[in-house]
């Protein structure tokens, strides 16, 4: 039974791997492949935020900083200091993760709206620094990256190799998050979300659990940040605006916090509306707003859990109808 069970659980995962593998051959052209890898990068950022939001119950508006700061570090170190890609990337990850540690120490003193506001403020401070510290960041002009690296002779400058590069990293992160969700740490983190006082009474170090959640979240978010720098080959303060932070949060809430598929679905929808639908619908901003409202009215737990509920209910209704017959 356990064999069958785990096979059934792996089915969606296998489906995703397959889909990502064949996607470049289905999509009509390189533009859509670029959109696909962008979606994966935003989805990775959303998944990293979901550690805080979905598993930790901490609604943060600072996640865009983990897109921006590692990207700045990567571009700065490789374009200005001439560091080779790997050490530059590792430094970027370290910087992003360290920033997460700092954010955690500060933000975890507050709760509820206070937490939301302090993360908003932290994100804005980083944004403001990027804007104003012109010598280091290039101000609003930002910084450019001349070329993507060529690890093992793989030319990441071309769309399809880069897409697969991002896909593999994304899948690895997804796999990690799946383990994370089922691990002892994941269980403890959800415990602190539901009953923080009880968790302390059970001997858990609530602050440390939450702080580590920040670290993991920041680390995964930083991976998205480095990929962002490689994808767009430039970085500017606009990557860290409140708008961007809100967008990532919306991806999580839209798709369904605490699920693996939710942030991915949220990233797909929001990115597609922004990049593709906006080519055809002038009032795409209104479309996005209507999607948010519609989801909250009809599937308030988010798309993925909401549809699961609908399916269960539908299944139950079908069963009920079959029974008397």
């Amino acid at each position: 039974m356990s064999l069958r069970c785990s096979a059934a659980r792996s089915l969606p995962a296998l489906g995703l791997v397959l889909l990502l593998a064949v996607l470049p051959f289905i999509l009509p052209g390189p533009f859509y492949i670029a959109i696909a890898h962008q979606i994966l990068i935003y989805a990775l950022l959303a998944l990293s935020l979901d550690i805080l939001v979905g598993h930790g119950g901490m609604i943060s508006l600072a996640q865009a900083a983990f897109l921006g700061v590692p990207a700045y570090v990567y571009v700065g170190l490789s374009a200005r200091a001439g560091l080779s890609p790997l050490p530059a990337a590792l430094s970027a990850l370290a910087a992003g993760t360290a920033l997460a540690g700092l954010f955690g120490v500060l933000a975890l003193r507050a709760r509820g709206l206070g937490f939301l506001m302090i993360t908003l403020a932290l994100g804005q401070v980083v944004w403001g620094l990027a804007y104003r510290w012109v010598d280091l960041t290039g101000g609003d002009n930002g910084m450019r990256l001349s070329a993507r690296p060529r690890p093992f002779g793989l030319d990441l400058g071309r769309p399809i190799p880069f897409y697969y590069f991002v896909s593999v990293i994304f899948l690895a992160a997804l796999f990690f998050l799946r383990r994370f969700a089922r691990s002892a740490f994941g269980a403890s983190l959800r415990g602190t979300r539901d009953q923080p006082r009880r968790m302390a009474m059970l001997g858990h170090h609530v602050f440390r659990i939450r702080w580590l959640a920040f670290i993991y979240s920041g680390f995964l978010g930083s991976i998205a940040g480095v990929l962002f720098a490689l994808s767009f080959r430039f970085i500017s303060p606009q990557t860290m605006t409140l708008q961007q932070a809100a967008e990532v949060l919306l991806m999580v809430i839209l798709g369904g916090p605490g699920t693996l598929a939710g942030p991915l679905i949220g990233a797909v929808i929001i990115t597609l509306v922004k990049t593709v639908v906006s080519s055809y619908v002038a009032r795409w901003y209104t479309v996005l707003g209507l999607i948010f409202i519609g989801v909250e009215l009809f599937l308030p737990e988010g798309l993925v859990p909401g549809f699961a509920r609908l399916r269960r209910r539908l299944g139950a209704a079908l069963l009920a109808r079959r029974r008397p017959a």
């Binding site: 939001v53 609604i59 500060l106 003193r109 507050a110 709760r111 509820g112 709206l113 206070g114 939301l116 506001m117 302090i118 908003l120 403020a121 932290l122 804005q124 401070v125 944004w127 403001g128 620094l129 804007y131 104003r132 409140l242 708008q243 809100a246 949060l249 919306l250 809430i253 839209l254 916090p257 009032r283 901003y285 209104t286 996005l288 707003g289 209507l290 999607i291 948010f292 409202i293 989801v295 909250e296 009215l297 308030p300």
Partner: protein
Amino acid sequence: MSAQFWLIQTLNAVAMGGLLFLLAAGFSLIFGLMRVPNLAHGGFFMLGAYLGATALDENLPFWLAALAAALGVGLLGAVLERALLRRLAGNEQGQVLATLGVAFIIADLCLMTWGGNPLSLSPPAWLMRAIAIGGFFFPAYRLAVLVLAVLLAVLLVALMEKTRLGAMIRAGVDDREMAEGVGIPVSRLFTTIFFLGAALAGLGGVIGGPILSAYPGLDTDMLPLALIVVILGGIGSIGGAFVGSMIIGFIYNFGIALFPNFAYVILFLPMIAALLIKPEGLFGRVPQ
């Protein structure tokens, strides 16, 4: 720094504080009483400014234009409460997402209706001048805004503390079931609160209009300010919101005058500090 510098920046600070109170009072009311983090508040404010600009274009007197805009935005708020937020009671994430959705739509429809160019709102003619104070000039209108903010604060405190409506609102918020048990129409009260909060935002938009003007992006410029004021002032306290507004007015004006390099973060650093020291806000009770 000369005495004149301190004087004029103090005037600037309190005038801006008054403006911020007009912005934040409605947010504080809705959040404090109903626990709804209404992220469409900036949109309400901007919509008020645009409606006011249109009303002024139709040659309505300024105060009437302000009332009309307040009424319009208030009605929108009431409708939103009935149709949308009512169904999301207690679902904080849902409220965040849904009110942001409303904010997006308001921003987009304003852009569609009024175009991208900034619109000016003319204050009443008798306030359109600068008053000479000790060797420099200060806009009369800003002083009027300050006076209005003080009046409004007094009025709101009186409404909440002294009137039957205020007593019913407080009862309904404290214990909904018990309030319903003694015959208070809680459902209508909640709509009233939302109407009032949104109308205040709309009013603020028109009153702030002659200073800020109406332009795309006014909403996102103002929303963080409303949040900061309410956080610093404490949640759900009109008096706190007033004090918070004044504090922000002073921090902003003296901050950027004395530390121009910190202009981008001047409001956020003190907020972080305040939250670290007193997470529940400087003047608020702990929200649970």
